[in-house]
Amino acid sequence: MTESGQTTDAALIGAYRAGSERAAAELVARHAAALGRFLYGAGAGRSDVDDFVQETFFRAFRRIDGWRGDATFRSWLFAIGGNLLKDDFRRRKGRRVVSIEDRDVVDHADPAGDLAALDAHERLRAGLRRLPRLQREVFLLRVQQGTDYADIAAALGTTPGAARVHYHHAVKKLKELCDA
């Protein structure tokens, strides 16, 4: 249990290993939205995000014994999602299909503000796509999840010091790319 009385991910994983499908459903409910945002930021098309999220959970549960608690379950999950995206990118040989929905325009009360935000998001996504994979994933784990460098390092198979360096290189390049 956590301080807030919530069952920990480790406990849910233990329950799932013991056969509880309810525990698996709880893990999906906890992490699906954050995983979707991470995958979207890392380059998944808007219309493909749900499929990638589902496939990530499928692979994660299939080899749940591979999670030994070195990294948080969420970071481990994101690393699997990152691998999935990389494989998909290789399969398509670098071609990316951008569907109409990927460029849709949100319709809210402040269209000018939304368009400005969308523009910043699109520029950032375009910049992220041009970063090396480690830099991109470290940046997203850090800014979207607030993950600390030790956890990032454990999930991505690097050291905390190297993760910090990757983050700062990512920020430096993104500043150049987004300001250009």
Binding site: V28, G41, F57, R125, L140
Partner: protein
């Protein structure tokens, strides 16, 4: 510079709403273009994907994932069972072949009957030394001729055997 590192480390937390900038930190952000640029990036990154619309239906997704896992386990179980059966059948086939391939000691052992040509050769060979060249040529020519053209010796029967040979055959046959 230490102030920049401190702010950089706190940016994700503040961007996620987990904390707020202090007055000193805000003052630094206003005067440091590096930190201000990073802060803008972190804020944009933090909100990236929030406009994606509805979050995935976790229950439905969990059901789909678990169904796929079950289907995969079933398929794997089937293929393991199939492989086990195939291995068992192969082992049984090998055992059967080995068993039926062994000479059956209950079957009477009959002295091998030599083929006509062997009998013919055996009958001729001891006498070859005493043949002259012409006779020897005739004999060799007869080997080259098709079997049907050759004079076929009469196949030996039990009656042709000596008493000792007959006794050996009968003993071997368990008679």
């Amino acid at each position: 510079m230490p102030e920049c590192t401190h702010l950089s480390d706190r940016m994700p937390l503040v961007a996620g709403g987990g904390d707020a900038w202090s007055a000193a930190e805000l003052a630094h952000l206003e005067t440091c273009p590096d930190c201000a640029g990073e802060w803008a990036l972190v804020q944009t990154g933090e909100s990236l994907g929030r406009d994606q619309g509805d979050a995935p239906d976790a229950d439905r997704m969990a059901r789909t994932v678990l169904d796929r896992l079950r289907a995969e386990r079933l398929a794997r179980g089937r293929s393991v069972r199939r492989a086990t059966w195939a291995a068992a059948l192969a082992a049984a086939a090998i055992a059967l072949t080995v068993w039926t391939g062994r000479p059956d000691i209950r079957q009477p052992v009959v002295a091998p009957v030599e083929s006509a040509s062997v009998v013919e050769s055996a009958a001729l060979v001891p006498e070859l030394d005493s043949l002259d060249a012409g006779e020897l040529k005739d004999v060799l020519d007869s080997f080259d001729a098709p079997l049907s053209e050759r004079a076929m010796p009469v196949a030996p029967t039990l009656g042709d055997l000596s008493d000792q040979e007959l006794e050996r055959v009968l003993r071997a046959g368990g008679v």
